[in-house]
Symmetry: C2
Subunit: 640 residues, 2 copies
Amino acid sequence: MHRFRFPPAAYRLYISNSKSTRHRCIQWTSHPFHPLPLSSLHTSSITRKMATLQELDATIAEKSALFNQLKVRADPTEAAELEATRVKLGELKKSRGALLQASGGGSKDKKKERLLLKTGKGTRDYGPAEMFCREHIEKTVKDVFHLYGGSCLDTPVFERKDILAGKYGEDAKLIFDLKDQGGEELALRYDHTVPLARYLAMAGTTITNAKLWQVGKVYRRDNPVMSKGRMREFSQADIDFAGSWDPMIPDAEIISLLGTILTKLEVGEFTVKLNHRKILDGIFEVCGVPSEKIRSISSAVDKLDKLPWAEVKKEMTQEKGLDPIVADKIGQYVQLKGAGLEEAPKLLEQLLQDSQLASNKSAKEGLSDMSILFTLLKSYGILDKISFDMSLARGLDYYTGIIYEAIVEASAPPGLKQADALAPTSASGGTDSTSKPDSKKKPKKKLDEEGEEEIDESQVGVGSIAAGGRYDNLVGMFLSAASGEGKKTASIPCVGVSMGLDRIFAILWPRWIERGMRSKGTMVYVMSAGDGLLQERVHLVQALREAGINTEFSFKNKPKLPAQFAAGEKDEVPFAVILGGDELKTGLVTVKEQRWEFKDGQKVKVQSEEKGTQVLRDKLVDWIKNTQTFRDWQIGKWIS
Amino acid sequence: MHRFRFPPAAYRLYISNSKSTRHRCIQWTSHPFHPLPLSSLHTSSITRKMATLQELDATIAEKSALFNQLKVRADPTEAAELEATRVKLGELKKSRGALLQASGGGSKDKKKERLLLKTGKGTRDYGPAEMFCREHIEKTVKDVFHLYGGSCLDTPVFERKDILAGKYGEDAKLIFDLKDQGGEELALRYDHTVPLARYLAMAGTTITNAKLWQVGKVYRRDNPVMSKGRMREFSQADIDFAGSWDPMIPDAEIISLLGTILTKLEVGEFTVKLNHRKILDGIFEVCGVPSEKIRSISSAVDKLDKLPWAEVKKEMTQEKGLDPIVADKIGQYVQLKGAGLEEAPKLLEQLLQDSQLASNKSAKEGLSDMSILFTLLKSYGILDKISFDMSLARGLDYYTGIIYEAIVEASAPPGLKQADALAPTSASGGTDSTSKPDSKKKPKKKLDEEGEEEIDESQVGVGSIAAGGRYDNLVGMFLSAASGEGKKTASIPCVGVSMGLDRIFAILWPRWIERGMRSKGTMVYVMSAGDGLLQERVHLVQALREAGINTEFSFKNKPKLPAQFAAGEKDEVPFAVILGGDELKTGLVTVKEQRWEFKDGQKVKVQSEEKGTQVLRDKLVDWIKNTQTFRDWQIGKWIS
């Protein structure tokens, strides 16, 4: 428990990764503004021996409250203090447990126990400033879905248990079940793909060609790494094209769409690792892997982004009993990769020249797909972002064609950065159910207060931020299961991608903070100088809102002018409109435009000697709508 | 199970309520387009005796598939057929059960059982056309939240069980629990109010004044009435103002905000029923209700919108043991109501003149609040929508000030319409946890296949579509529970409103269908005449998308022109851009603007003899952006 609200570890990672922002980060850390008496946490009162349980309880309650406040406030300048508080709190709670055990008590104390004010493990609240950023991410993603002709689908957060059964292999243990309260067995959805396939199977032949997107939360009982956006409740944005078209056109369209989204989100340099299940299967066949071992050998290959070949080979031979000669043959193929406009097609050409692969049906089909795909990706202008990577296998059984994974420079864990900038730890819980088992180099773990493993957050990367592939048989699996007797039924071929919105948020949030702590898009704050003028303020506020201008005012009868300015400044409201008794008689109001800038690492209001502009009340809406500020905001320009 | 996807009962209700749309409704019902052989459902094959279980199974599977397709398609012309199918399916399944029981079998048959392709009880998918409408509703609501200076909060879908405990009274039995899989006890959130209060309590003094909105799903294990938007999973949009300001200003702002949203959504004529807990409590005190009976008498009063006074009185006296003289005194107060600019203040004046109430502290405070509120609501221009209704009590314990409920003309159940247009059945699961116990006039019920009561959907109204009130102590409850020992701690006073988005959808959807079955906002469909020109199409599509124009094209290498037109027409795409080999050489493309109109109750494309306009490829973006159509779409004008 007590993981960070604001991702301080991600923030530290950010410092270590990006030279260009180091300056500002350090400035934040030395930020002088500490409204809470943080120093009180580090007094000797914490470490001195507690005489009684009551004393200990009181201290825990006090520190917990403080800790909660720090978490909610999510002020980056307080990251170190927050971390220290977390550790101290843990110590205090252990002391309490020991004291209880020593006194043989605990049970009789239970009834009086305090309510723990916290969210469930692996979940968190997002406050106003964070949601302002997350809303921006969601809007950007949805706008691109619309741009590519997608329409929205919404499925329930829980499904009948038998719909999810048998779709996630080993990871099925991570499914959140609902309690049996009579009626159906239910479970929280694990991803958007299986509910989509269930929907398509129910729709049957009424849906032939569809481009469907879903944005929403999915659930996995995994070990959370909150700061990296690896949560038990997390948000995914999916788009899937379902239908029979000509080869690789929808596939190329999806990859282009993914590239457009990552570019518009400004996540930084990104690469889309690409492979094809049929090529992989062909390789395993020509190398001599027994068919029953193909899936487990495939999952070993998938670890090549985290482990050296020698270790992967050891897993294949020692753990999975593969002939070392076969393993070596595989090794020659799966370590191949080619990135970008030149190298990716070159690797493809090399494989097409390979006589062994040429004689294998599966490999041939896969390579032919890739040829068409590369031509299309060139037309789309996205081939330069592609890395054709033979080690990409992905965990899910249901993929039948191309598979891909998007990674960004900023998402790699610190330890692996130097070794291979394009090979981050692929953590589960991000973009689909391929949670790769932790390697020998697994992050240091310790036990949290519930006895579950806690992960050292600084050692885990954000991982892939998007992933997907082609799955032509999943809808068919539902159709044949529903028809009973395992009859063969027609399927609906699909290709799709999932984006991990929490991981994208973990990358964007530190940069978002630089833009100030605005949490809403209020444009005008209406104030009164002097006599309160509540009714007049309400009238003007309503007139501005009527015209579509986001407007606020003080909920006080006679607010003081400085307090009104301060309220408007909290969210960097660009227009202060001031009502005065005298001016009202002449039908005038005063407008002051306000601007903010960075000064010594802090966002501050630009001081101005101007007294403001006098505008006729009846012309105020037009006046505001004619400003450059308003026009910029209309097109979302204030964000950047 | 097998409730309607598309709300046919709501649709029928719509027919019965709205004269102006009756014409079109009848036209739909006689709509000639039935792509599925619906008549096959009504053949003698269903009713004839089944010789064997296999035969029965096959028929059930076939009809289930058909039923699912009808549900997903949600075509209003098929509502009656869908209903008939549902009934027949129920009969078939009962026959199957009887047959199994007669043969003593069932258990050995279990393993072969088919997967049921369905969503959990009380939940449903929303397909593209429905989501297009729901996205419009959400956007309208969020825009107004921004207009009034709200910022977004997001809390997890599940909470620790002890956070929800003790907040919902009797309705706690409706909470969905998660299964104990080790670790914490968790439950799905029941509303947005309690998680908000938990968040504010965690934030403590760091949040002094906040205007927070939440839009998301909440969960109640209630008897669903799907067609009226009464679901087990349903969407609520909440906004709450938390903080200490001057009396009634935030309260008036919330009511104004609610009115603005309902006006912008065009839900039809609406009324905001308004009352004050302190006035009610004062009335109970001066009438002589023993203090321990106040809450249960209050909940009896709340039924006055569904029951005549005589029955409510009977409940008070016979069931709850209240002195009949006391009940009669109450009756004189709680049957008072005054609606609109004239009558509402008049009723307030009458109560202010009442010497008994004037001598009661609680009533005096409540009436003083109401005086201030009415003045403010007049300034806001919303007083004409208010009905000051002394019978409004609402179920939740935590309200401490004004309470309100928005109802719309279209939301009343048919049976009660004539009696009192402003008194719909308030169904639970809509806007907050006040599920009023069903009255004597309760809808007819029968048992569904799981043995749970099924509700006759045609007899239930949509109910209130929004509700809320002031709750000044809820955050304090959390703070004192967390501090232990029941210490008194400061609270954060709150006032808020919840809107039932599914109910709003149930009202808007039938009208939305009139606007055509568009499911996305695609503006351009790029086509090729003749030779495929895949690469050229991709280039043009990407150029248009680059300019922010939603564009699609066929995923075929050499698509036929009529097929391309048909694909674009499905979503009423306004611009067809056609590439031809010859024109490409001269750098030209052909643009055809397409329009749709209603003809004999059907949306049809306006036939045009025009051959289209030849536009320079390089000028295409500018050309499109200069059309009236594009400018209208930019401001969302195509929707209305």
